[in-house]
Amino acid sequence: MSQFFMSILIIVFGGFLSLILARQFKLMKMVAVFSLSAGCFWGLFDAVTKLMQSGSDAASFKYLNVFSLAFQIDGLSAFFLVVIFAVCLVAVIYSFHYMDHSGEAVRTAVHYFFFSILIASMALVVTAANMITFMLSWEIMSLSSFFLVIYNYESSENRKAGYLYFVFSHVGAMFIFAAFGIVYGYTGSFGFGAMDSIPETAKIVVFIFSFIGFGSKAGVFPFHVWLPHAHPAAPSHISAVMSGVMIKIGIYGIVKMYTLLNFHTPLFGNIVLVAGVVSGILGVVYALGQHDLKRLLAYHSVENIGIILIGLGIGMIGVSSGNPLMAVLGFSGGFLHVLNHSIFKSVLFMGAGMVLHKTGTRTIDALGGLLKKMKITGATFIIGSLAICGLPPFNGFVSEFFIYIGGFKGIGLENSAFVMSIFAIISLAVIGGLALACFTKVVGVVFQGEPRTKAAVNVDEKGSTMLASMLILAGACIFIGIFPGAFIQMSIKAVSALGLGYGHVPLEPFGQMTANITFAAMVFLVSLLVVIAIRWFYYRGKTITKSGTWGCGFTQPTAKMQYTGSSYAASILEFFSPAAPLDEDHPKIKGRFPEKTYYKSHVNDIAELNMKGVIVNPVLFIFDKLRWIQHGDIHLYIGYILLAIVLLLFFI
C-alpha cells in the first residue's frame, strides 16, 4: 500500500509545486509534467504487480476521531488503477507541448494542480473501502474535474458545459448518498462489508439509486446529457482523461455495488444490459449527427459505455442464470473494453486535440486533407478509429469478441436470458456497423480529400511529446489487438476479485480464445504481406502518373464540392429520425440567379429535450409560483408567525 500512497503523494506534490512555480512557465511545466508522470508511472508499476500476483492489500487511517479512512486494493481496483495511471501518464506527457500558451502561465499552473488532484482522487475512489472514504474522494474528483472543464471559461458554451456537468455530478452524488443512506439505515455502519446483509427489496432500491448516481457519471443514457457538452470543453488531454478514465470510475461504482450487494437477481443484469443497449445505439447515432469533432468523440464515449454495460449485463445474467462461463466472458469482456476504450479514445481525443491545436477549429466540415500534412496524427487517428469500430486486428475487436461469445453462451439459455442475449448481440452488431459509418465519415472528411477551408491548408504537426504519446497509445491498440493474452488475464483477475465464487473457473478456454485471436490476426497479417508483395511485383517498373480526380465529366471540381460529413450521415440519421429528430435551417432558393445561401442542421438529443421539458421547466414553474410568499408586506409576515403558532397548537 505504501507504494500506492507514495505515488499519490508525488502526484499531488507535483500539483502544488506547479502552483508555487506558476510564474516561471517553462520550469513549472517541466516540474509538473515530470512529477505527475513519475507518480503515474510508479502507481502503474505498483498496480500491475499487484494485479499480476493478485495480492490484496489494505490500509486504514483514523478520521475525525471515530471514523476511519479505509483503503483496499483488490483485483478489481488494481485493474482500474492500471487504466487510470496508464492513460493519465500518457495524457500528462501529451500536455507538455499542448499547453503552450505562456501568456496564461497561472491558468496552466492551476490546470496542472487540478489535474493532479483529479488523478489522485480517481485513484482513491477505486481504492476506497468504506462509504466515507468513497464519497470524499468521489466529490473531490467531481470538483477538480469541474475546474478542468471550465478551463476555457471565456466561451459561454464552455460555461454552460461546466454548469451542466457541475449540476449533474452533484445530483448523481446525491443519489449515491441516498443509496448509501439506505444501506446505513439497515446496517448502521459506514463499512462496505455489511452491505450484503440488508433485505433484498432494499438491495434492489440501493442498486437502482446507485446505478442512477454512477450512471450519471459514466454517461449512461439518459443521464449522459452533460457529457457531450463537458468533454469537448476541456483541453484535449483532459478530454482524453475524462472520456477514457473518469467515466469508467462510474462503471467501477456500478460493478462495486453489484459485488457488495451480492444479490444475483436477473433484474440487475437486465437493467444494466438494457441501459447498455440504449446508450450504445443512441450514443453512436447522435455521434453520427455531430459536426464538432470532439463532441462526436464524446458521444462515442456514451456508445462505448453502452458496450461495456452490455458486457457487464451479460456477465450478471450469466451469474443469475448459474452459467459461470458466460459470466466470466461477459465481465472480462466488459473490463477489457474499459481498458481498450480508455486507450483508443485517448488516441482519438489527442488526435482531435492536435487538429484543434493546429487548425484552430473543431468543425468537421471545415477540415479536410489533413493526412498529407499530419502523417503521424492521421495514421494514429486511423488506427484509433479502426480500434473503436472493433475491427481486427485491433484491441477493440478483442473485447467485443469476448462479449459476443458471452452473449452467444446466453443463446443457449431460456426465456428472458435468451431474449436479452439476442438483444445484446444484435445491438452490438448494429453498434459496430454504425461506428464504422461514423468513423469512415470522420477519417474521410477530416483527414482525406482536399482542405475545405483555409484553416486546414497550412498545418504542421510539431510537438514531439504529443506525437510520442499518440504513437505509444496507437502501438498499444495494435499490440493488444494481436497479443491479448496478458490483458485478458488481467481482466479475468479483476473478475475473480468480484467474489462470485468463480475463482476455480478453468482459464484454458480463455487462453484458447486469445490464442485463436492471435492466430487469426497473424493469418491476416501474413496474407496481407503476401498481397503487398504481389502488388509490388505487378507494379515494378510500371509508369505511375498523377492527375486530378475523375470528376465524372465535370471539369472544374472545387474543394467545396466534396461530400460533407453532414450529407454522409444524412441517410442513416433519417433512418433513426424518431430517436434523433433533426433540426434543419436553410432559406428557400429562388430566382434564376439565387444569392448566397446556407444550410444548418442539428441533431437533437431526445434526453436533452425531455430533460428541459419534463424536469427543468416544471420545477422552475412551481417555484416561480411560490415566489409571492416574500412579497414585502410586513403585515402578512406577522400573519405568518400567527399562522405558524395556530397551526402548531392543533398538534399539542
Partner: protein, 214 residues
C-alpha cells in the same frame, strides 16, 4: 363575592380592546392603550401572590412606565411632528370590532378547555391575556400606520405581562423585569426607527415600506 375586583378590571381591559379596535385616530388609540396599561399593571395587586415591598415598588414602576411614560411620550411625539392622525386600517373598524368580539369569545372558549389550577378562581384572567395577545397581533396586521402597529405591539406585551405576572408564581419578578426591558428598549428603538421613517418619507404609512421583496 359578587363583584370580584380582578374580574372587574379585566372586563375593563376587554372593553379597551374593543375600543382600540374601533378607534380610528391615533390619539384615541393611545389613550386607550394608556388606560389599558394602567389597568393591566394593577392586576398583580389583587392577585393573592406574595407581595413584598420590592414587588410593590416594582409593580408601581411598571405601572408608571406602561401607563404614563410610554403613551405620553408617543402622544407628545405625534403632537410635535404633525403626523397624519389616521390609523389607515387594512380591515375596517366595524369589521375589526366584530373580529374583536369573536376573538374574545374564542379566547374564553379556549381557556375553558384548559383549566389552570393556580388561577382557577379568576375566570376572566386567562381569556383576557389571550385576547390581548391576539388583539395586539391583530392591530399589527390590520393597521398600516406604523405608530398604530407599535401600539399593537405594546398591547401584545400587555397580554404577555398578564400571563407572566399572574400565571407563574416562581421567577415572576425576572419575568416582569424582562417584559419591562422588552417594552422599554423595544419601543425606544422602534421610536427611533419611526423618527427616521418620518424623516425619510415624511409619513409613517408602512405602504412606503414594501420595496424589499422578490
Amino acid at each position: 363575592m359578587i363583584l370580584h375586583p380582578v374580574d372587574t378590571i379585566l372586563s375593563l381591559v376587554l372593553l379597551s380592546v374593543l375600543f382600540s379596535f374601533g378607534s380610528s385616530r391615533l390619539p384615541g388609540l393611545i389613550k386607550v392603550l394608556a388606560f389599558q396599561g394602567i389597568v393591566v399593571s394593577m392586576v398583580p395587586f389583587f392577585i393573592g401572590h406574595d407581595m413584598n415591598g420590592g414587588g410593590i415598588v416594582f409593580t408601581f414602576v411598571t405601572l408608571l412606565i406602561r401607563g404614563i411614560i410610554i403613551p405620553m411620550s408617543i402622544y407628545i411625539a405625534i403632537k410635535k411632528v404633525a403626523i397624519k392622525r389616521e390609523v389607515e386600517p387594512i380591515i375596517g373598524y366595524h369589521a375589526s370590532i366584530l373580529c374583536g368580539l369573536g376573538l374574545i369569545v374564542a379566547a374564553t372558549y379556549i381557556s375553558r378547555q384548559l383549566n389552570i389550577v393556580s388561577i382557577s378562581d379568576y375566570k376572566l384572567l386567562f381569556p383576557t391575556a389571550i385576547a390581548l395577545l391576539v388583539a395586539g397581533m391583530f392591530l399589527l396586521m390590520a393597521r398600516r400606520n406604523a405608530i398604530a402597529m407599535v401600539l399593537g405591539y405594546i398591547m401584545m406585551e400587555n397580554g404577555i405581562y398578564l400571563v407572566g405576572t399572574t400565571i407563574s408564581i416562581r421567577a415572576r419578578h425576572i419575568v416582569e423585569f424582562g417584559i419591562l426591558l422588552d417594552v422599554l428598549a423595544g419601543v425606544m428603538i422602534m421610536a427611533i426607527i419611526l423618527q427616521n421613517i418620518k424623516r425619510t418619507f415624511d409619513d409613517v404609512d408602512t405602504a412606503n415600506l414594501r420595496t424589499l421583496k422578490e
